[in-house]
Every structure is written in C-alpha cells, then in structure tokens.
C-alpha cells in the first residue's frame, strides 16, 4: 500500500520529524525527545497533527434515527454543539471502531473514526443507511485535524481568536464544539482530546492546515508549546487510561469486556446493529461476572510490559497485555491488559512474562493519571 501523507507532511519534514506508519499514513512519531513532548503536554501545551483521523458527515432529516440504528449509543439525544464517545459494532457485537460523534446542527452530524478504520466505518454506515433519509459523506480526504493539548492550550488558542469567537471558544465546555475563525481560517473547534489534559481539536480544510499550524506554533512559543508526535500521543492516552483500537478494542471484543458497556444504549427504542448480541453479552455478565476484563496494571519493578506479553497468575498464563510502557509522569511502568474478571479487582497481584522472566504487577484503578481540575 502506498503511504498517505497529511497536508502537513512538508511542515513535519522541515521540523525534523521521525516518521512512522500508522493506519497506512506516514505520521510524525516524534520531533525530538518523545519524553519532552509528553511533558510539554502535561505542563504547558503540545501541538499534534491528527489529519489521519476520518471525518464522516452524516446529514439529512433521518440522521439522528440512522445513527441510533448504526451505532450503539443514542446519538439522536446529543444536544446541538455537543459531542459523544460511541462505538460501531458488528451484528455479533464485535467492535468495528470507537469514534466521536459531534452534533453540528439539528440534522447534521460529524463522525470521527480512527485512521485505519475509516473505510470500514464508511462502508458500514453506507450499508446501514438503506431506508433512512440520510446522506453519508466521507470528508476525510479534504479535512485536516490539528490538536492543541495541555494546561496552556486555552490561553494559546485565545490569542488567535477575535470578537464573539473568542468568547465562544473560551466558554466552550468539555466535549462541545463550535465554528470559529482561528487565525483567519474557518475551523470547527472542539474541546476534545486524547491526552487527559484540557485542549482543543480543530477541523479545517487541508489548505488551511499549514498556516494554522504555524500560527499556533508562533502563538504558543512563549508558553512552551512544542509539536508532538504519535509516541507522545500514545504515552499520554495510556496514562489517561484511554483505549486504542487495535490494542484494547477489536473485532473480537464487545464494549463490555473493555469496561465500556456504558456506551451501549440498550434502553434506546428501536433496533440497532448488534443489539441482540450485546444484550446477550450484558445478560451473561460479560466483563463483570464472566469472561475477561480490561484492567490497569502498575509495574512493581523497573521493566515495562509491552503489547502481546502474557499475564501470569500463579505461573499460569491467564491474559495478555494490550499496551504498556514506562509512565513518564508517574515514573513507573503502566500497562493495560485483559484478565479473567475474577482477577480484575484493584490490588490483585499478577506477573507479566517479560521475555521469559516473570515480573510483578498489581491491578490498579483507571485512569493511571488524572489532571487536577
């Protein structure tokens, strides 16, 4: 597959980025030190290119009812200008993707799937749209997404806003979005993110991506803002206990095992794709009294568990690590892993097989890190 490049590729290249393949895209992994980038987001601000994410416009008089049928949540209940974390499941309850849905207007929604899953999500939405008064338009190729995250993000962004837009963005609540002109460019500004910090995600036309990136960099220079790559994005989201598709979430899991049963609105009226299977999984106590569950692990030694490593109980393999690394903020190894529900209680001692040597870990409550509000 030929790698895809975002509209900011030249900007990243001139900034000396190290690139990595992610979902078929050539994305910046880091610019300099990924630890410095991680810390900048926790202590000041970081700037991310997330243009690999998908953007799917779902509009028409049937949009709300359609999304209620196609996804597991009750999206018709999202208030105007608000966003909701949801999932799209297969008929058998398996997770096709996790995504964020913004309600931009009465009959107009923006669905943001993960980079590599965008084609799957678009295909599934189109198939499921039959019989609904709705259009599904994949706007991913023409849309760029920039994120500014960290305690100083709001103050930096404010410098690029004028008039009512400035007031509107300043009062924007978490998981809300508004149209605004940022540094002279039309943007959809959302107070969302994947780092555990306050911050914004800005959807813009591709042509506006580089000018906006440069405006944000300039505005943030004195506040300590630096460009951040996917390495920092991954360590930040892991500390915040947020799942990553392909690691914590997959086609072989329902939302219940992931501890995200709350996204499934079994109480909503009407049928939706996966309802029967998800109802059965819930009735069976999947993720609570039966099956496996996603847990947080804290390393008691210095060595880190990594994705794919076996979790041991009394020397026997009982589960698998899905993500793991040393936590830059906490200073000890952290990991997410699937274990049998009987071993999911915080305080449970488990071992992880670190390349042939068992190392002690302890189940801890998620998230690992939570910012002071």
């Amino acid at each position: 597959m030929t790698p895809r490049f975002t509209a900011l590729h030249a900007v990243h290249e001139s900034a000396g980025a190290h690139f990595t393949d992610f979902g078929g895209w050539q994305m910046p992994l880091r610019y300099g030190s990924e630890l410095a980038e991680h810390r900048a987001v926790r202590e000041a601000a970081g700037l991310f290119d997330l243009s690999h994410m998908g953007e799917v416009r779902v509009s028409g008089p049937g949009a709300g009812a359609f999304l209620d049928f196609a996804l597991v949540g009750k999206l018709s209940a999202i208030a105007l200008g608000k966003a909701k974390y949801s999932m799209i499941c297969a008929e058998d309850g398996g997770i096709l993707d996790d995504l964020i849905v913004y309600r931009l207007a009465e009959d107009d929604y923006l669905v943001v799937p993960n980079a590599g899953n965008t084609p799957t999500v678009v295909d599934a939405l189109r198939e499921r749209a039959v019989g609904f008064e709705v259009t599904v338009r994949d706007a991913s190729a023409e849309t760029s997404l920039l994120a500014i995250q960290g305690p100083r993000a709001a103050a930096i962004l404010e410098q690029l806003l004028v008039g009512v837009d400035r007031a509107r963005v300043a009062s924007l609540k978490y998981y809300s979005a508004t149209a605004a002109v940022v540094a002279g460019r039309q943007a959809l500004v959302a107070r969302t993110g994947y780092t555990g910090e306050d911050g914004f995600e800005l959807f813009v036309a591709n042509l506006d991506a580089a000018p906006l990136w440069s405006a944000l960099e300039t505005a943030g220079q004195e506040s300590g803002l630096i460009p951040c790559g996917l390495a920092a994005r991954d360590s930040l989201r892991l500390e915040a206990g947020m799942p990553l598709y392909g690691h914590e979430l997959s086609r072989d899991l329902t939302p219940y095992e992931a501890g995200l049963g709350g996204v499934v609105a079994l109480a909503k009226p009407g049928d939706f794709v996966g309802r029967e299977a998800l109802q059965r999984a819930r009735d069976a106590g999947m993720g609570t009294t039966s099956g496996r569950r996603l847990v947080g692990l804290r390393g008691l030694g210095r060595r880190s568990a990594r994705a794919g490593y076996p979790v041991l109980h009394d020397g026997e393999p009982v589960g698998e690590v899905t993500s793991g690394q040393p936590s830059p903020t906490l200073g000890h190894p952290i990991a997410l892993a699937y274990v049998p529900v009987g071993l999911a209680e915080p305080g449970t001692r488990l071992d992880v097989d670190l390349r042939g040597r068992p190392e002690p870990f302890e189940v801890v409550a998620l998230p690992f890190y939570q910012r002071q509000k």
């Binding site: 880091r30 030190s33 390495a231 991954d234 360590s235 060595r303 880190s304 690394q325 040393p326």
Partner: protein, 127 residues
C-alpha cells in the same frame, strides 16, 4: 543524521567496542539510541559475568520499545557504568562517551565492523 564515532568498532546489532580503553568498553551507537528514542531503563550484565559474542547480555528500554543488548565480544565483565543506570538519558545524550554501558576483559572478539563499514550500512555520519 546520527553520528558514528571513528576508531570504534561496531557489531551488526549496533553495539560499539572501544579497545583503546583498557579494559575495552561497550556501548550502543547513536544510530541505535536514535532509533529507540528516549532510553528509560537498562538491564546490564553483572560484574564478573561471562558474556559471549553475539549473545544477548542485557536490555535497553525506551518509552516505545525494548531491545536486547548483544555482547560484541566474549569475555568477563569488569565494570558497569552505574551513572547510566541512575540516569539512562545519558545514553541518548552521549552514547559514545558518558553513555558507555560496561567494560569487559576480552577473550575473543565477535565479527565486528569498522566505523566506515558500519556507517556505510547504516547511513550515519562519521565524526
């Protein structure tokens, strides 16, 4: 571009060997340090341990990954660089100097590349 220290010799697995020091010193190249990203933890052989050329004798962990450290020579470990155990970031900052890992009394050398050969293979810049 990563630098490659002239005069040192290198294993295929990116360890360097400095035989101008006595006993010989071992570390990892800037190419490897750059590829790994920020080094956060090291597992090194113990003083007195016998290492075998081409065999793993430790680990270097970065935030993103972990890699084996292969012994570039066979011999007995004489000294461990405690400074890098305390502050593994030194490996990124000064991989050929303060970031050395251990020293070894060499009995047999493994198959090693000259700095020029290593640079040729890995596209680094000789310094």
């Amino acid at each position: 571009m990563s630098t490659i220290r002239s005069g040192y010799r290198y294993s295929e697995d990116h360890e360097w060997l400095d035989t101008s020091a006595s006993p010989a010193r071992v570390g990892i190249s800037a190419v490897a340090a750059e590829e790994l990203g920020d080094v956060v933890h090291l597992e090194l052989p113990e003083v007195g341990a016998e290492v075998t050329a081409g065999e793993p004798c430790g680990e270097v962990e970065s935030t993103k990954s972990v890699a084996d450290i292969y012994a570039p020579v066979s011999g007995t470990v004489v000294e461990i660089n405690d400074a890098v155990l305390d502050d593994p970031a030194v490996v990124n900052e000064d991989p050929y100097g303060a970031g050395w890992l251990f020293s070894v009394e060499v009995s047999t050398e493994g198959s090693l590349l000259t700095a020029e050969e290593y640079a040729e293979k890995n596209g680094g810049e000789l310094t």
